[in-house]
Structures are given as structure tokens and as C-alpha cells.
């Protein structure tokens, strides 16, 4: 009885609020237009593709959302997602000979154990993210300078570490991450949903998570209220780095290779999605759940362009335009609510 009393009044406003949200209507509109204009849009295969692309860009934007919550920005995510996988492979190919086995076989194919590669990649993501955070929080480097510096340095390292050649990753487990499905849902999307749930649980369910909002809302007030703001900034960047590493693993597992110039410019996409999902660049506003909606809208839109046969250059053009317009609109709506 108590459960009923408690849940009904909460679910109804949630659903009503959802219907008032313009982004829901945008998503429905894209799906409707897609279904009407192409017979391929609403097929199992295309929805599967859509889920796969949502998983990669969604993970990047989840990390970006956490950093944006603190009022900062992370431009290094795209370079980091490739860097972490490259480090995983390179470290293991160096370790291999020490254990008396050669894991890098002909054609630059990595044939060693894949689980350590994944673990090293995840650790690298967290470590580089934390370094970004330390630079911003403790050394007081402006966040976009700090992460622009990491972006450049990581891209440089990517070329140095790979010598400009792609590594091929042929392990059954890696292919499973990239290609397999669970009750019709790609594994990559399942991983994305798990990360989303974990992040929502942390941010909305724990006191520590709530402090990101406090920092983004008014950092000085948060500091004076006794919150160790610097630690939370480092944590935010570490989360972003971890998300980037997971995105990198999913991305390269699909391609079964990793190459230095991959995923160039994905940081733009991640920022655009977070902002479409309602995150404010000034901090304090946004949520992982709304970023999910943002990534669905964004990926569905791009997918529609691709199905219509619009080329990548025009898609890039669209990303830039959408980024500027969405930030502009959110800026204006905020000014209105303040006035």
C-alpha cells in the first residue's frame, strides 16, 4: 500500500514532464521523418547501428556532462579514447618478450591476451583524466587550455607510439564486445547503459555525487561550505577519462583495429550532445539521463543524414552548426528565465 501511495504521485509528474520536454518531441520527429522517408530507417539492422553509435558518442558525452557540471570542459576525450587503447596494446607488446612470447605477429596484429589490454586502457583513461583534473584544480590552468594541451600531446603520442601504422586486434573476446548482441541489443549499448545507470546512481543517489552540482552552482560557496572542491574536480576529470577509455574500447572493438588519427573531432560531438541534453557550460545544470536523450537525438539525426546519403563533410558541417545553435538557444532561454 505504501509503495502505491509513494510511487503514483512521483511517476505521473515524471511522465508529464517528459512530454513537455522538447527533446522527446525532437527524437520522435526524427524517427517519424526517418520512417516516412526511408524504408530502411526503422529496421532492426539500422536500430542496431544506431545503438552502436549512441554507445560510443554517448559514453564520451556522459564523461563530458560530469566535467561540465563542475563548470569546466574536457577537450581531450577523443584523443584519450584512442590513446588509452594504444597504450594498452603497446605496453602488452613490450611485456610479451619479457615473458618469452611474441604477441605482436605479422601485419602489426596483436595476438596476445586481450583482458590486460582492456585493464591497462581503463587505467590509462583514469590516470590521464586525473592528470587533467590535477592541472586544472591544483595548478590552476584554465580547463580548456589544460585539455587542449593534452589533446595535442596525446595525438602526438598516438603517432609516436604506433609509428603511424594501425594495430589490428584479433581476439574473440574483443570481437564479442564489438559485434555480439544480448537479446537483440548490442553488447556495446549494454555497456553504455550500465555506465549510465552507475553514473546516475552516483550523481543522484549519493551525497558525494550531489556535490558536483554544488561546485558548478557556486564554487566559492561550495568551498566555504567545507567541500574539498579540488578533489571533486579531479574526480570529475577521472570519470571523464574512464568514460573515454570505455568508449575507446567499444569503438576499436567494432573496428578490430586502432589507428592514431581515429575519432578526430569527437570532442565537438560530445560537447554538442551534452549541451543539447541541457547541460550548461557555466556549470551546475545537466544530468546523465538528459545526456542520454541528447545522444539519442544527435545519433538519430546523423543516422538519418547518412541514410539519406548525405556525405561525411556535410555531417561535420551539421555538427558545427548544431553546436553553435544549441548553445545559442540555451543561452537565450537562460537569459529569459533570469529576466
Amino acid at each position: 500500500m505504501t509503495v502505491l501511495e509513494f510511487s503514483t504521485p512521483r511517476v505521473a509528474p515524471f511522465l508529464l514532464g517528459l512530454l513537455r520536454d522538447p527533446i522527446i518531441w525532437l527524437i520522435l520527429l526524427i524517427f517519424a521523418v526517418g520512417t516516412l522517408t526511408s524504408e530502411y530507417y526503422f529496421t532492426a539492422l539500422n536500430i542496431e547501428n544506431l545503438m552502436r553509435s549512441i554507445a560510443v558518442i554517448g559514453l564520451l558525452s556522459l564523461g563530458m556532462t560530469v566535467v561540465l557540471l563542475t563548470g569546466r570542459i574536457d577537450l581531450s576525450v577523443a584523443a584519450l579514447m584512442i590513446f588509452s587503447v594504444i597504450v594498452g596494446v603497446v605496453v602488452m607488446t613490450e611485456i610479451g618478450p619479457m615473458l618469452g612470447s611474441r604477441w605482436l605477429v605479422r601485419g602489426n596484429t596483436y595476438a596476445g591476451p586481450i583482458v590486460p589490454v582492456i585493464l591497462i586502457a581503463l587505467a590509462t583513461g583514469i590516470a590521464v583524466g586525473a592528470l587533467n583534473g590535477i592541472g586544472v584544480a591544483y595548478f590552476k590552468v584554465a580547463s580548456f587550455i589544460m585539455t587542449l594541451v593534452s589533446l595535442t600531446a596525446l595525438r602526438g603520442f598516438n603517432y609516436v607510439l604506433t609509428n603511424g601504422h594501425p594495430y589490428y586486434l584479433k581476439a574473440p573476446f574483443y570481437s564479442w564486445i564489438g559485434d555480439s548482441k544480448m537479446v537483440g541489443i548490442p553488447i556495446s549499448f549494454v555497456i553504455f547503459l550500465l555506465v549510465l545507470l552507475a553514473l546516475m546512481g552516483f550523481i543522484h543517489g549519493t551525497m558525494r555525487g550531489g556535490r558536483f552540482y554544488a561546485i558548478g552552482g557556486n564554487e566559492k560557496a561550495a568551498l566555504y561550505a567545507g567541500i574539498k572542491t579540488q578533489r571533486y574536480v579531479v574526480l570529475a576529470y577521472a570519470i571523464s577519462g574512464l568514460c573515454a577509455a570505455i568508449a575507446g574500447i567499444i569503438f576499436t572493438a567494432r573496428l578490430k583495429s586502432v589507428d592514431a588519427p581515429l575519432a578526430a573531432g569527437y570532442e565537438l560531438t560530445a560537447i554538442a550532445i551534452a549541451v543539447i541534453g541541457g547541460s550548461a557550460l557555466a556549470g551546475g545544470v545537466g544530468s546523465p539521463w538528459r545526456t542520454l536523450l541528447g545522444s539519442v537525438a544527435f545519433a538519430a539525426g546523423l543516422n538519418l543524414l547518412a541514410i539519406w546519403g548525405v556525405g561525411t563533410w556535410y555531417q561535420n558541417l551539421a555538427i558545427g552548426v548544431v553546436l553553435i545553435i544549441s548553445v545559442g538557444l540555451s543561452q537565450m532561454s537562460r537569459k529569459k528565465t533570469q529576466a
Binding site: G71, R72, I73, G135, V136, A137, Y138, F139, K140, V141, A142, S143, F144, I145, M146, L148, V149, S150, L151, T152, A153, R155, G156, F157, Y159, V160, E219, K220, L223, T229, G265, L268, I271, V275, L281, G283, W313, Y314, N316, L317, I319, G320, V321, L323, I324, V327, G328, Q331, M332, K335
Partner: protein, 338 residues
Amino acid sequence: MTEKVGEHVMTMSTLETQVASQARPPDAWRHLSVSETSRVAVLIALLIAGQAITPSFLSLANIHVILLAVAAIGIMAYGMTLVVITGEIDLSIAGIAILSCIAGGLMIPTGSAALVIGTTLLTGLAIGLINGILVAALGIPSLITTLGMLGISRALANIFSGGQALYPEPIAAYLWLGRGDLVGIPLPVVLLVVLGAAAIALTKYSIFGRALYATGGNVKAAALSGINVVGVRAVVFAISGACAALAGMLESARLSYINPAGFEGMELSVLAVTVLGGASLSGGSGSITGTVVAALIIGIVNNLLNQLGVSIYLQQVVTAAVILAVVMPGMWQRGIAK
């Protein structure tokens, strides 16, 4: 974008500096950030080190090489410095450079040098102005505006050129811009010096220069004292766009090759030069002379790394390290970095 509690206040307006010095106790660490003298000292040390490493370092030929390599970055950095003084940032310069060169390149079949060069410069000016209007009039953060514009202009460059490089071979005057010389001095270097002098005059000795520092120091105060802050910022972005187009054109002319995928990551090198030159990203400070010295420092470091056979990708890492080393001293300031 950047909100520091104990930010630099080095505006040209004497009133403001007076107010600032009254309001804040003298901060001993402030002078530790890269000052004009230490920059010049680093430059001289590099010159001596360079000569010690390679005997041909200070030869006329190598000095030409260094200055030619610095010309494009330096000219772009003039524009960037003006933008950063107003407290904004322009990440779109590489995109503007390439789109303007492609737009100009499309005029090559007409055979008219004036049309090719004019189209290139006007395109840069126009895109810069669009940036300025979006930032100053519509209030969209410059970081986002110019990041978006970088993507847009790169995409448009590919769309207009079909992804194919263009060759300005038939336009002699165009090639002369990159390869010609005036009394023995390469033309890009002449332009670097002339534009540098113009930029110094503009920032130090003009009303517009005062307005620039005032806007960057405190937008509200500047607006209330009758400065057209929207206009100032729009003009500054337009200048940066034109500088980017010119620099792109000099490079394309030198290589006689307009590459729609060119100038990758150029914005960071230019930003590095600007910040190394003493411009604070919170606005209100910075100087063209500082930028010139910083451009020479970066040029010499790259020249030395080249002579030592360091790969271009490692040079990227070194550039990143240099810029980080320069902005790190901010850690001594109190306050919050965003």
C-alpha cells in the same frame, strides 16, 4: 570561461590600474609569470645554445628559415593576441585559413590575381566577422562559437574543393607573396614585420587599443564608460579572421599547394605563442611585442628540434609541454581556475 579571483589586472587605462592597486595588496608572485625581460632572456639563451649546437645556426640562411617558418604563426598570433586581450578566444583560425584559401583558390581559373587574393582575404574577414557577431551580439561563448566554426569551415573547405588540393601555379603574383622577396628579405617576413608594427601602433597608441584593454579588463565598466564593447569584439574577431586568411595564403603560396586538410592543430601553436607572449586568458593584458618574442622562441625551438632530427609528432608534444610550463605559474595565484 575563466574566472579568477586574483586575476591579472594590467589594463592600459590608468584609472583601472589605480583602482586595482588600491583594492588588492601587491602580489609578489604576480611578477614571476613570464615577464618581458625573462622572455628576452630565454630568447638570448636559445640563440647562444643554438649556435653552440650547430655552427650554422646564426647564418643568414638559417635565420631566413626560422623567420619564414614563424611568419604564418606570427601573423595569426597578432590576430589571436587582439582577441585574447578582449578576454575572448579564437579556435577557428586554422579552419578560416583553409576555407579562405580554398575560396580564393576557386578563383584561379579566372586568372586574375586580384580576384584570388581579394576573395581569400575577404572570406577570412567575413568568417571572422560572423564569429564576432555570434560572440559579441548574441552572447554565445567564444570557445563554443569558434570551435563550431572550426568544424564548419573545415567541412566547407572540403565541400567546396571536393577534397582535392588546388594549385595556384598560374597566378604569378600569388606565388610571389610566399616566395618573393623585397631587397633580399622574404616577403612573408616583410609582412610579419610590417603587420607587427601596425599591430603595436594599434594596441599601444590608438583609441581602439585603449578600448581593447578596457573591454578585456572589465566589460561592464567599459560599456558604462561609453565604449562600444560589441563593436570592439566584433572587429577584433574580423581582424583575427583576416590575419588567418593572410597567413594561410602565405603558406599556400610558399608551398604552391592549397590543401583542404592543411593547418591541422595550428590553433594550439598560435595560442601557445600568444600565451607565451604574456597575454592572460582572463583578458585585459597582453602585448604584440611579447607575442613577437614568443613567436621567435617557438620558431627557434622548432628549428633546433628539426636540426636534431626530432619527429614532427614529438615536436607537438614539446609544444604542449612548453605552453603548459608557461601557464603553470598561475598555481601561485589564489582563486579558482575554470
